[in-house]
């Protein structure tokens, strides 16, 4: 980095301040800040998966302010501290402004023509010499749907490799696996509207207050108005979310499956199960997928009585019983979870067991009841899950293994169906291992920072260093740019139009209000022009506008469970998003799936719906599945050599690898560095005082870091926020992954800690 950190921060702040002016909208106050000269543009926040509406304030050719969108039904004008400073990110000192190619070890500014010709030539050489599977794409849940769609077509449809992944593999894949195996189709049945109808919230593996603050605000608002509303938290660590908790269960990290089973045991034993709902809507299966009876399931649960679960998880049996009774007695219940459940080697199973509680009690398909997964990125659902941006998927919740799906997509893409391989490509960890092994020789990385965000990150630097790496990114430097051969400057939020699809199935349009900084270009056009240079002119030259891409994409969703064919740009520009299915332009969007009002439910034959309030149409008989999954431990349990369970996570003020939030001086000042949280009892035993420098060590690496002695983690647990490359928590995390979802276990690693 050419600037020292302090100089850099000062320069960054100066640039941001110079670019921004204040506005004053309080009537009667002196209006000295030109509010009337500002034009406001409806958009969507760039950070987490909540999907908050924001208004971009523009004066002249600058974005000068941001405010929450009062008309947006998600956030109703509220924004969190990250969104509050979003406009400053545009003018970050760290924006990548020009294409660059590494020559003799140094990045040299080049023209777009030179950069794209070079990438096209190298990719074609690799493809011809080693075949299409020697190339790969690694994208992002922050990319727009249109951008991911173009990459999907280029790599799966034209180059002919399914080595196409995205960082949602690292955050949401287990939720996908849970929804598919339990309910039959991906993504939640309900929406945020359920919050205001819920009597009980089960927040498990989610620090909602810091990671989804606007959703937390809605929960708090609802609880304030309705004091009977209860909140249960299951998490090995206290967080700010605890301030509203009625009950907190603290399982040992990675051992919470037994707790969920024990809750199910109590729910059935004490008569809280909805036997009529179960009879009409639920099948039971064992871990091998074979049908079992309700009685056999109950017998299975005898291994997970509260007392047995206490021995496994460390949670007192009495508290498990209390939680189960609260869940059973509540008229409605909404579960919410995120990385604490998903980033696990048994993430899919943990998801299944949450669904189990809702299916056993019938707390699903009615207002206020839903197992509702929270998404980490703004377009992980829209662009990657729905858009098919993973190695086994195709657009519109389709699969590469399905011949009909391949034919449908190939026809719209205008490519021979034989181009799309019938076998899934390499999932994220396998992809980066293949880079290490030299089996993949060229990779295009877009809008993400794997050199910092992969688990056991240092293991994968070898491949990034040795193979041909193209990085399309809005910021420089990043941990990944250190390994790139070519840097392509990408337009940032507000400099491009497109669609984001958030946690609640809502797709929202974002306008372009600025010209991209420097020579940055929209990722979709970079991909289009690269494709044309690689020889796919016929397939790509037809795309002239973002709407061209969106229209083609939504045509592929027609008739699919996530039908967006009625969500045209014309509509999306006017409304605050639409929740699919939206099968026609006059359809208002769907609040709940699998019930009356869901267009797919409504058009089912009457004999199928008879006597049933839900029909899970992704399952052959319309019945969801309660799974009897064994309570497996984490991949790396603690032992005498590594007696602590290390877990990683986030803070309110920063996001992911800090590329955006660390460019905002106020946020950087708020939390300027990483630390390790250790319980006071553990610290005392080890002679560690607050602010001591300590070494945290796992079987993979060591990290020198400041200790924060605090009673947030339980004794035996350590916590490190992962946003800083200088204190890279992923040197310590394990790259073991869920065999179903392939999502790594960021949340549990055996560690030891000692004074530096």
């Amino acid at each position: 980095m050419p600037l020292k950190r302090r100089e850099f921060l000062k320069a960054s702040a100066a640039a941001a301040a110079a670019a921004s002016i204040g506005v004053n909208l309080i009537p009667g106050m002196e209006n000295k800040l030109f509010a009337d000269a500002i034009t406001w543009h409806k958009s969507v926040c760039r950070f987490c998966g909540t999907g908050c509406g924001v208004m971009i304030g523009k004066k002249g050719d600058k974005v000068v302010a941001i405010k929450g969108d009062l008309e947006n039904p998600i956030n109703k004008g509220h924004i969190c501290v990250k969104g509050f400073f979003l406009h400053k990110v545009i003018y970050a000192r760290t924006r990548l402004l020009y294409p660059m190619i590494r020559k003799n070890g140094k990045f040299v500014r080049v023209s777009w023509d030179e950069a794209l010709d070079y990438v096209a030539k190298r990719f074609n050489e690799i493809r011809e010499k080693y075949g299409p599977d020697a190339l790969a794409f690694y994208g992002s849940g922050q990319a727009e749907t249109e951008e991911t769609y173009m990459a999907n077509k280029l790599f799966k449809g034209c180059i002919g490799t399914n080595n196409m992944e995205g960082n949602p593999r690292l955050c949401m894949a287990s939720a996908v696996g849970g929804y598919l195996t339990s309910l039959g189709l991906d993504e939640p049945a309900g929406t945020y509207q359920d919050i205001e109808h819920a009597e009980l919230f089960l927040l498990i593996g989610s620090n909602t207050a810091e990671c989804h603050p606007i959703i937390f605000e809605r929960i708090v608002r609802h609880k304030t108005k309705n004091p009977n509303v209860k909140i249960i938290i299951i998490d090995p660590r206290k967080t700010p979310t605890d301030q509203v908790a009625d009950l907190h269960l603290f399982p040992k990290p990675g051992w919470d499956l037994a707790v969920l089973h024990a809750m199910a045991y109590v729910i059935i034993k004490e008569g809280y199960a909805d036997l009529d709902f179960i009879k009409k809507h639920v099948n039971f299966k064992n871990n091998e997928g074979k049908d079992i009876s309700f009685e056999e399931f109950q017998k299975f649960l005898e291994d997970y009585t509260p007392e047995k679960a206490e021995k496994i998880s460390g949670v007192p049996a009495s508290e498990i019983v209390k939680a189960a009774r609260m869940f059973g007695q509540a008229r409605t219940a909404m579960s919410m979870w995120t990385m604490g459940i998903n980033q696990r080697t048994r993430g899919v199973w943990a998801n299944n067991l949450i669904h189990n509680l809702h299916l056993l009690t019938g707390k699903i398909g009615v207002p206020g009841s839903d197992p509702f997964s929270l998404t980490g990125q703004p377009n992980a659902c829209g662009g990657v899950r729905e858009g098919g941006g993973l190695c086994h998927l195709l657009p519109g919740h389709r699969k590469v293994t399905n011949a009909k799906h391949r034919e449908e997509v190939a026809r719209v893409w205008g490519v021979p169906v034989s181009n799309i391989q019938p076998k899934p490509g390499k999932h994220t960890i396998a992809m980066f291992e293949a880079l290490n092994e030299g089996k993949i020789k060229g990779i295009y990385i877009m809008c993400t920072n794997p050199a910092q965000s992969l688990p056991h990150a240092q293991k994968f630097w070898k491949g990034l260093k040795e193979q041909f790496v193209v990085l399309a990114e809005s910021f420089y430097p990043t941990a990944t740019s250190e390994y790139a051969d070519v840097l392509l400057p990408a337009a940032f939020w507000a400099e491009k139009e497109g669609v984001y699809g958030c946690t609640e199935r809502r797709s929202q349009y974002m306008p372009q209000v600025l010209q991209p900084m420097g020579e940055a270009r929209w990722d979709a056009w970079i991909l289009r022009d690269l494709a044309i240079r690689m020889g796919f002119k016929k397939e790509f030259e037809k795309y002239k506008t973002a709407e061209d891409i969106w229209n083609e994409y939504i045509s592929l969703t027609k008739g699919r469970d996530m039908d967006l064919s009625g969500a045209t740009y014309r509509r999306l520009k006017k409304v605050r998003g639409l929740t699919w299915p939206v099968p026609s332009e006059d359809h208002p969007g769907t609040y709940k799936r699998y019930v009356k009002g869901d267009p797919f439910f409504d058009k089912l034959p009457e004999e199928k719906k008879k006597g049933r309030r839900m029909y899970f149409y992704g399952k052959p008989d319309g019945k969801a599945v309660v799974w009897a999954r064994p309570a497996k431990p984490p991949a790396e349990p603690t032992d005498k050599d590594y007696p602590f369970a290390l877990t990683t996570g986030r803070v309110l003020e920063h996001w992911h690898t800090g590329t955006m939030t660390r460019a905002v001086l106020e946020l950087e000042r708020a939390v300027p560095k990483a630390y390790v949280e250790i319980h006071p009892d553990d610290a005392k035993k080890l002679g560690i005082a607050n602010k001591d420098m300590v070494i945290v060590e796992t079987r993979r690496g060591k990290l020198k870091i400041e200790a924060r002695v605090i009673d947030r983690p339980e004794p035996g647990t350590l916590f490190i926020p992962w946003h800083w490359k200088e204190w890279l928590a992923n040197l310590l995390t394990i790259d073991a992954f869920d065999p179903g979802s392939k999502e790594p276990e960021y949340k549990v690693a055996a560690a030891r800690i000692y004074k530096a």
Binding site: R5, A18, G22, L25, I66
Partner: protein, 122 residues
Amino acid sequence: MKHHLVTLFGVFALSILLIGLSFALPEGTQGEQHPDVDFDVSCMECHAEETPDIFSDWQGSKHGFMNFGCYMCHGDGTVDFEIKPSTDKCASCHGGYSVDFSRLNVNSCFDCHPGHTLKLHQ
């Protein structure tokens, strides 16, 4: 419990999350100098030691309860810094409220709502 929740909700509704309208100071309003900033510690860590009374007040306030840090009102301490934050900055978060100062005997939000001990109409 209800009181606790009302308090908590007030913090959320009126501090971090409400009707956000974010801005930075226009050029020319800088000038108040913060002592050299140590970029290895956060604002809060330093002020807990240097100005413990103010820190303690803030920590007990609704702003502190929600970890609504120094930087939101006082700026980053380098380029953007105000010892006494302007009322304009209140509008950044509380822009959803209509306040007609011509009908009041005060000129600033802070005349009624001191930021470090913010209690908001209780």
